[in-house]
């Protein structure tokens, strides 16, 4: 681990804005009157001026998946004799640095990789190209809230999974932990060796942050036995509104829908809790009730994905709990199933 002066690091970030390009958390809440000043809406955004970048925030409202799986992508296509010719020019494969993602979001990228990356059965070339060209510089999390449960999901607020480098806010400096070659190329030459003493202090800090996380989720649970329990799934989904907040804000949800609009094909996010998600052209809807849809969401995350890819499709970022309009708590639902 290396240690670097904060202003030196921020100076470097300023250079990234023009080249290669920087994406970082920004408060985009606009205020019409002074009373609204406390409103915050923190999202990842392409940075234009250095003053926009935030370092003090819990987590962004929307996860970082937007940049790899955009909410909607428009493809032009031409009809050829041998089929359709899609124009994928949307991705130019420009290098970008994403700064400030939390370890939970970084972990979610490793889960998305299993589905869309180069070696995957369902390779998505746009996704793979963007992944290759992006450097992920994470920011360790020191103030988790009551909805966070990353420690139950096999990671910690200081994890490096999925990251190219991790930055830790340490007193008046930043401690840099370079993980991959990409990270080393970008940050390897910076700062001076932190030494064993600081390494120890960082470990202690990590443990103390971990202790702040009180919520747990029993991920080893076998959900199979609860599948048929009409009573349980009705009870937990009774208040569900069938809106898309949980799926759209989830860093690891990746379902999408395709539709054709005047010679363009639109690929946009879709969520399994929506009423019409499973609707087929015959008119049959195998998941017509919210009980079935909500159960599917939980099972996909904690059973089907685990069976196929060996890990749960959840990183414990807590967004679905924090932003659920009726406060449905997925960790509780799994624990009590």
């Amino acid at each position: 681990m290396k240690i670097i002066n904060k202003s030196e690091f921020l100076g470097l970030m300023e250079k990234w804005i023009s080249s290669p390009g920087l994406i970082a958390p920004v408060n985009v809440a606009q205020t019409f009157r002074s009373a609204d000043k406390e409103k915050n809406l923190i999202v990842f955004k392409k940075i234009e001026t250095k003053d926009e970048v935030l370092a003090d925030y819990l987590n962004t409202v929307k996860p970082v998946k937007d940049f790899f799986l955009p909410p909607s992508t428009v493809f032009d296509y031409e009809r050829k004799d041998e089929g359709y010719n899609f124009n994928l020019s949307e991705v130019d494969g420009k290098e970008t640095i994403i700064f400030g993602l939390r370890p939970c979001d970084a972990k979610s990228i490793t889960l998305l990789d299993k589905v869309f990356s180069e070696d995957s059965e369902y390779k998505d070339s746009n996704y793979a190209k963007k992944r290759e060209k992006t450097v992920l510089v994470g920011l360790a999390c020191t103030s988790p809230d009551i909805a966070c449960f990353c420690t139950s999901m096999g990671i910690s607020p200081f994890s490096i999974a999925g990251l190219d480098a991790l930055i830790i806010n340490f007193k008046d400096s930043y401690v840099i932990n370079t993980v991959t070659d990409k990270g080393k190329n970008l940050l390897g030459s910076l700062g001076k060796e932190a030494g064993r003493e600081i390494d120890e202090e960082i470990k202690t800090l990590e443990e103390s942050v971990k202790l702040k996380i009180k919520k747990t989720c029993n991920t080893s649970k076998n959900l199979e036995s609860s599948f048929e329990s009409e009573e349980y799934w009705t009870k937990v989904s009774n208040s569900c509104l069938s809106c898309g907040v949980c799926t759209f804000l989830c860093p690891s949800c990746y379902c999408f829908d395709l539709s054709d609009e005047s010679a363009k094909r639109i690929r946009c996010w879709n969520g399994c809790v929506f009423l019409r998600f499973a609707l087929m052209s015959s008119g049959e809807n195998p998941r017509a009730t919210k009980k079935l849809r909500y159960r599917h969401r939980v099972f996909h995350k904690f059973k089907y994905f685990r069976e196929k890819f060996g890990e749960n499709l959840c990183v414990g970022c807590g967004r679905c709990i924090r932003h659920c309009p009726v406060k449905i708590d997925i960790a509780e639902v799994v624990n009590n199933a």
Partner: protein, 290 residues
């Protein structure tokens, strides 16, 4: 007050006057409230009532329209019950309205943090309906008079926007609506958005683009606002649930103001009255209607 509420609900369920009562209970985090559905009279002890009970529960009535249901409402929420009766979506005889006297609830963040200075949601600051105008059972709050704070001008923010130039307003809404992620939480939480297939979900023909373009976002949010003109009862749920913090209440409030000034109509006040758009008056300002 909570005791009285629990007793009344218990009585309703024990006497089998209703199959289910929809109320509020405490969430697992011991801070927030959650919507709570009770069928068993023994579970009534879990019912709560305080400033964290921010939800408008009448949204669930549509799903249960053929059942006998008891519903716990505040002064604002009950107006959507009135609207649903007016619009023939529910039958009055199927619903037992349990009204609560309310001096205001927390805003969204306040409910989570219990923070000082967050005591009243924006909608509560301009509210003067502390006792529900329609109820079968009223749970009175004896300290009501001390609790009610001064009412603020409900159209203050609307006038502020009206006074801006069209360019400034357009700019403002462009920035706000570009945040929309089309999660449709606003529609799903709205007690008056009950179309079996929403116009935004129709694919044959497809009326709106599915993509997150600014045009598509404008189309969705304006169509929804117009569908609610003269109907919205200002429960503020759409704005509360919007994860992107779009001030949706301002759009609905503007239409509410227009409807009030043009037709003298207030939504959700009188169940005997017809809905605004299924009636006409000889004094209508428009020529074509005469």
């Amino acid at each position: 007050m909570i005791k009285k509420l629990q007793e009344e609900v218990k009585k309703l369920l024990a006497e089998k006057k209703v199959n289910m009562v929809i109320g509020y209970a405490r969430a697992g985090d011991a801070i927030n409230a959650i919507p709570y559905f009770i069928a068993n009279p023994e579970e009534c002890g879990a019912l709560i009532w305080d400033k964290t009970c921010i939800y408008n529960l009448t949204n669930y009535l549509i799903d249960m329209r053929n059942k006998k249901v008891g519903i716990i409402v505040k002064g604002c929420d009950v107006r959507s019950v009135v609207c649903l009766i007016q619009e023939n979506q529910i039958k009055k005889e199927n619903v037992i309205v349990i009204g609560l006297q309310c001096a205001g609830v927390f805003d969204k963040k306040g409910a989570e943090l219990g923070a000082v200075g967050r005591e009243r949601a924006a909608k509560c600051k301009s509210c003067n309906v502390h006792t529900p105008p329609l109820f079968d059972i009223l749970i009175e709050d004896k300290e009501m008079n001390q609790k009610v704070l001064q009412q603020e001008d409900s159209y203050k923010e609307i006038r502020e926007i009206e006074n801006k130039s069209p360019e400034e307003r357009f700019d403002y809404w462009k920035k706000e609506l570009s945040k929309c992620i089309k999660c449709y939480a606003c529609r799903q939480v709205c007690p008056l958005c009950y179309c079996p297939v929403c116009v935004a979900d129709q694919t044959m023909p497809q009326w709106f683009s599915r993509s997150l373009s600014l045009e598509g976002n404008f189309a969705w949010n304006t169509v929804r606002a117009f569908h609610l003109a003269g109907r919205c009862i200002d429960c503020g749920e759409c704005e509360r649930v919007c994860p992107m913090g779009i001030p949706l209440r301002k759009i609905n409030k503007k239409l509410e103001k227009e409807v009030k000034e043009l037709f003298g109509h207030e939504s959700g006040v009188d169940a005997e009255k017809k809905p605004l758009f299924s009636t006409f008056s000889k004094d209508d300002p428009e020529e074509f209607i005469k």
